[in-house]
Every structure is written in C-alpha cells, then in structure tokens.
Amino acid sequence: MILRVAALRKTYGGRMVLDGLSFEIAAGTLTALVGPNGAGKSTLLRCLAGVTPHEGRVHRFDGVRAARGAIAYLPQSPRLPAEATVAEIAAVFAVDRADPAVSFAPDPARRAGTLSGGEGQRAALAALLAMRPRLLLLDEPTADLDSAARRDLLRALTAARDGGAAVVLTTPAPQAAELVAAADRVLAIEAGRIVADATPAAYLAR
C-alpha cells in the first residue's frame, strides 16, 4: 500500500470541500478520480500531495513519505518558469538521475515561455516522470493535450503503473471515458464525498 486516507476534511472559508474521505491507494495501480467541477477532486489531490493543510490523516507508506522525488504532483495547466529550458526543468526534478531526458518531452532546448499549453503540460509531465516517482498525482493531465499526446501520456502512465508506481489522476466526468477505461479503479466524487468506488467497467456501465 502507498497511501491510506482517513477522515480527510478540508474547508475553504467555512465551506466544506472535502467531507471525511477515507480510502486506500495500492502500489502498481491507476486510479481515476472523477466528478463534476467543484466536486473536490483537485483539493483532494493537493491534500494527497502534501501541499495544502487539511484535517484528518494521510498516511504515506513504502518510503513515499521520506524519499525525495517519491511523490510527483502535476497541478492543472501548470505554468513553468518561462526562462527555464525543458531540460533544466527536468533536471530540477530528476536531480539524482543520470539521464533526466524523457521521450515524451518537447525539445529539451526550448524555453518554457515559448511552449504552448499542451507542450508545457507535456514538459511538466516528462519532468515528473523522469523522477520515477512511487506516487503520481495528476490533476486533469489530459486537459491541454491533443489526441496523440493523450495516447502518449496514457502509455507513459500505464508504464509507470506497471513499474510499480501508484497513479492517481483526476478528470471531469464528461471527459472521463478514455481515462477511466485505462484505469484499474474509479473513485467518483461529488460535493466532497466519495459516491462510488468501482471498477472501470462497473462505473462506465452506470
């Protein structure tokens, strides 16, 4: 097991965004968090990544907590430092790796400020994948990608999963089919609560 979440709560300005969530994430799995906008998916991912305070417990196991580079978090449509090259950004994350280059990335010599939204997304994903993390947390990773890039991404994510990493990604419900089909498990969230924990086949059959 990589993660165990217990009674996770998060409020913004008095509004309950996550309402007592409890679940576990196993190593070598791909989990899709689906739900409408405002359901709490992004906030949940940020809590799992440890970048926002919350109530309740997020237990990280198997060295995920202690090791640098064990957790990779991709926010929605990230904006990378404009003057940094793709290769430099990858090197910051894959600092202990001999070869941070990943085929998924745009031209390593290009500066982030010259990349389109989709290219920036790919550059960020490539940098994170180069870390070879144990836990990948991706917030709408296909949002800015075209169909070819989405296929490349899914291949990269399933390869990471097959290599033993746990992958958790979010997607809004209307766009979920493609990602859900590739997942091992679907957690559906609405109004800060888990309303379904199902296999992709069972979820898509609903």
Partner: protein, 270 residues
C-alpha cells in the same frame, strides 16, 4: 542541478534584469561623470555629492529590484503551480526559500556590478588608488542591502497569495523603506528618549536606511550628513558601535525574513 543554481540561471535570463542593469549602469556612469566634472577630482571624496548619489543609487534601485524580484519569484511559482510541484517532490520550504533569495540577490548583484563597472570606467585614470577603498565601501554596503531586500522580497512573496498582490506589497514596502521610515524616525526622535535598544528597534524597521547609514559611516561622514538616524546612533553609540548596530540590524532582516519565509513556504498552501 541544485535548485539554487536553477533559480539563478532562470532569473539572470530575465529581460527585466538586462534592461534594469542597462538603465542602472547608465545612471551610475552619469552620476559619476557629473561628480567628476563638477569637482574636477575624484568625486568620491568623503563629502562628495557624487559619493552620496552613488550610494543612494546603489541602494534604491537594486534594492527595489531585489524586493520585487524576490516577491514575484515566489508568488509566480505559487500561481503557476510550480511551487506545489517542487514541494510535493520533497523540496523543503527552507531549500526553496534559500534558492529564491540566492537568485534575487545574484540578480541584484549583477545589476550593481553593471552599475559600478560603468562607474569604474568613467573613473578610470582619474582616481588615485588611495581612494579606491571608498568605492569598495559603497559597493560592499549596497551588496548587503540587496541581500536584505531579496530576503524581505521572498518573505513578501510567501505572505501574499497572488503575483499582483506580491508586486503591490513589495512596491509599497520599498516606498516605506525609501521614504516613510526616515520620516517616522524624524517625527519620533524628539518624542522618545531612545537608548541603545530603542535606536536598534528603530533601525530594525528599515533595512534600507540601515544600509544607507552604514554606507555613510563607511564614507567617513559625520554629523548631519549621516542623516537623522545616523546622527542619533553615532552620538549615543560612537561610530564603531553604530556600525555594529547597523550590521546587526541588516543581519536580523536577512536572517529573520529568510527564516519566516521558509516556515511559511513549507506550511502554507502552495
């Protein structure tokens, strides 16, 4: 690649640094040339307006640059999600803060180097070697001022939520440092019987004034030329004591701002 090296590389490519450095170099060369033509000699003598202008120029512009750059570096990364990516990957608040302070400081130091380099070109052949320590004293004080401003800037970026907030707050703080605190000291000095602790507290509120006063002391100025704060300090503490208090004040700003920023970056929502 270390995070600090990454941040330094990124920031030193900024067009704002290149443009700001060019403008600052022109201003520094102009001030120096004006001093030379006016006084026909060095222009860096102990009471020279050129020396004062170089000191003020070296504190005001690079400190403003370091303040704004430091705050924007943190706030921009937070808005764009890069800060969260770094933190999730295991980079600590202290490591991120040190990298941001290092990059903003190096950028301001490069700006200062451009200015003093241009100034040195104007001075070349006109300055007796014995006067060079004066030039070095101004340079050293402005370097320290830039480091303090970068630390405060990164703290501002850690406190504010958006890039716009960070820019507005850092400009407001720079204005308060440049103008506001001197007025406060002038107004309060007759009202309070400031002992050593009281003076230190006043100095602690304004790193720019602390650096400027330290520069004036290094230039050998005395009396009213030291400004209200410098006059108060040297009267009560002596020149050496005043310098120690001022260096301690700058050190407190640098260390205090950096430690607070590191704490905030490591605990606040990224």
């Amino acid at each position: 690649m270390t995070l600090a090296l990454f941040e330094i590389r990124v920031l030193t490519r900024s067009r704002w640094l290149i443009g700001g450095g060019a403008i600052y170099a022109l201003l520094a060369a102009g001030v120096t040339a004006l001093g030379l033509s006016t006084f026909r000699i060095l222009g860096l003598g102990s009471a020279s307006p050129a020396a004062l202008a170089l000191l003020d120029l070296g504190l005001l512009l690079p400190m403003a640059f370091a303040l704004v750059t430091g705050s924007a570096a943190v706030a921009t990364d937070r808005e764009g999600g890069f800060l969260a990516m770094l933190r999730a990957a295991g980079r600590s608040g202290g490591e991120i803060t040190r990298a941001k302070i290092a990059s903003a400081t190096v950028a301001a130091w490069l700006m200062l180097a451009a200015g003093y380099g241009a100034s040195a070109l104007v001075l070349a052949g006109n300055v007796p070697a014995a006067q060079l320590p004066v030039f070095g004293a101004i340079f050293g004080v402005t370097l320290a001022g830039a480091l303090a401003a970068a630390s405060v800037g990164v703290l501002v970026g850690a406190v504010t939520r958006t890039r716009q907030e960070a820019l507005l707050a850092s400009l407001a703080i720079w204005f308060a440092f440049a103008v506001g605190m001197e007025l406060v000291v002038l107004a309060l000095a007759p009202l309070i019987r400031a002992g050593a602790v009281g003076l230190l507290l006043l100095v602690l509120f304004d790193p720019l004034e602390a650096a400027r006063t330290l520069g004036l002391i290094a230039l050998g100025m005395e009396g009213e030329l030291l400004g209200s704060l410098g006059a108060l300090l040297t009267t009560t503490q002596g020149r050496f004591g005043a310098a120690v208090v001022l260096i301690a004040a700058l050190g407190t700003w640098i260390g205090g701002a950096a430690a607070t920023a590191a704490w905030l970056v490591g605990r606040r929502s990224s």
